[in-house]
Symmetry: C2
Subunit: 359 residues, 2 copies
């Protein structure tokens, strides 16, 4: 690597109008890549805007002075919304932007790199990725698929969802028709909820017409975009199910390995940049949207009763434990996550949680 670079490098004179530093002529290789995503076109936070898929691609192009150009395709434009994992694995496209829990059907362990119900919020989850072995495990789980993975965004704590009636006890969940996908849906099913799977565009009409009684989506900003506040008035905060949903960048390993070291470093830094940029964007815009929903639309915020939270926590831990028993890799990831959480929760209670109670 060093030798090739030396052969390509020639020191030339200083150009007019620049400061007195040597100029180096390099043969800069350019790369034109494709990134698929799991998101609709124009969806803020995920697809467009600061820290999104397109935002990250633009950042990479600017940092590389155009040497790594990434064309971003929304869901369905090149492959179906959930086709990105296989496409990147096969090398048909170089990158996909999504959430790891979409691939939990392939490897259950992927759930831990999306978000874990009753798990950790942004601080702990991200600390686990970067400094607690989580990112290494993520890449170990994806090793058979020729992928390099990294976190590149976070929604923060999501909301519990929209309910047409107040929920006063565990009994109120019996037979409740609720739109809730993934692991959380599985858990709700076990406490008696009639779980419905609907795409984003189907939620509002179903909730408005009473075809469903409740629906979970993301948080104030995204939920307002779907108009859910016009279909149900009670907004439950008991955001047990997705405390830190992490956006995922996966890169085809062979393509990644062909990048020179500086472009690899740029991709890695752009993903970390997007992780904090998108998280804080969500914090700012959710605060705005929540104020708007309460002030201007009469939305009422609520918390689930303690017996509901306790039942959900119990079923969640049972479910995770059952999955961990099924294969050694899930066991390994589960144990790493839980050991980190146990230690970090003690610190979090003493620092962040305490501060939030006195500020």
């Amino acid at each position: 690597m060093k030798r090739r670079k030396f052969l390509k490098t020639t020191v030339v004179g200083v150009s007019a109008g620049t400061i007195a530093a040597p100029a180096i002529v390099r043969a800069a290789q350019t790369f034109s890549w494709k990134m698929t995503t799991t998101w609709p076109p124009q969806l803020p936070f995920y697809q467009v805007g600061p820290g999104s898929a397109e935002g990250m691609a633009k950042n990479i192009e600017e940092m590389s002075d155009g040497r790594l150009k990434i064309k971003v395709y929304a869901a369905g434009e090149l492959v179906p919304w959930n086709g990105g994992f296989d496409a990147v694995s096969a090398g048909t496209v170089e990158m996909n932007h999504g959430v790891a829990y979409y691939w939990a059907g392939k490897r259950f362990a992927a759930q831990y790199f999306g978000t874990v119900p009753f798990g950790m919020s942004y601080a702990g989850q991200t600390a686990w990725y970067y400094h607690g072995g989580g990112l290494e495990l993520w890449n170990e789980v994806y090793e058979p698929f020729n992928l390099v993975a990294m976190p590149c965004g976070c929604t923060g704590v999501q909301m519990g969802g929209w309910f047409r009636k107040e929920m006063n006890s565990l009994k109120d969940f019996q037979g409740l028709k609720m739109r809730i996908p993934g692991l959380a849906g599985k858990v709700y099913g076990q406490i008696g909820v009639n779980v419905k799977l609907l795409g984003g565009g189907e939620i509002f009409p179903a909730l408005e017409r009473g075809v469903i009684d409740a629906a979970e989506w993301v948080g104030p900003y995204q939920d307002r975009r779907l108009g859910l506040h016009k279909a149900a008035k009670f907004y439950y905060t008991s955001d047990w199910h997705e405390p830190s949903t992490t956006s995922e960048l996966i890169v085809n390993k062979a393509a990644y390995n062909k990048l020179p070291k500086d472009l690899q470093a740029i991709v890695q830094a752009a993903a970390r940049d997007a992780h904090v940029t998108s998280y804080t964007w969500a914090e700012a815009y959710n605060a705005d949207a929540l104020e708007d929903l309460v002030k201007n639309y009469g939305v009422q915020t609520r918390q689930f009763p303690p017996d509901v939270i306790n039942a959900l926590r119990k079923v969640t831990y049972q479910t995770l434990e059952e999955e961990a028993k099924k294969d050694p890799m899930t066991r390994k990831v589960h144990d790493s996550f839980m050991a980190f959480k146990k230690k970090h929760d003690v610190w979090g209670n003493l620092s962040e949680a305490y501060f939030l109670s006195i500020r």
Copy 2:
């Protein structure tokens, strides 16, 4: 800019051993910069390690393939620990890594870009910088000094400090000899504390010999390094005074403007990368250190009594309000910060704070 780049660019043939993409020959200008810091050499988190001053400089060098080299000087190696602001302003060095509240004597408003007692923790503070107008105000305050400023690290919520005796009421603070600098020291002074200013190296011997009764430093990881747990057993969590201490990168504006756009983008992204990398490093290593301190050294964690917290909050707000009355720029920054905090606190209570109470 576009035209100059075009004149310098020549498309040449594809080199052997590379993929089928055009190679571009560019005259790449290199820059050799100096970064001073306010930190001792080898201090983890601040000076060395992931997300530190040296970590960020290394990241920039890697991303730029050596076109922007930054030599990092610890406190006293080139200028005194607090000489970096003036040196960067004068252009003697190009960058300084420190904390904005060190410059609160020059402009009180700088306090808000360090951390605000009873203010916001990482999520809200960072959201204010990136998406709530905070970063624009930071640069407006520094405009007369020819500086470009950006956040590049965060300690997270700091600890209240080490006390040789338990603190059971406001009365126990009367005449208490405590090492506590800055705005927090000013506030403690107003509730009767005998405030002592000591450098990092002086704290342990003073606390051990009883010359002082209490001392604040950073958090479990940094405090253990100073050995403070061997001088006092009660570790108070009531981290009201520094909820999100932000590391600051300042760059001489003329030097920054001479960088091509790609290197400017790299510096900006490296700072955001360091911001999240260092924060989560602190979260992971503080969790570790706290466990060690409690398990292996018999450290006892405590919370300040509510009357103490209430008195400190009241005096803090009075002090900030007095400063805001003194000059229009402080007023402007104070009002922006407090308006953002008010809105974000509502969202934070519903999301992060609630989740931390049920996880």
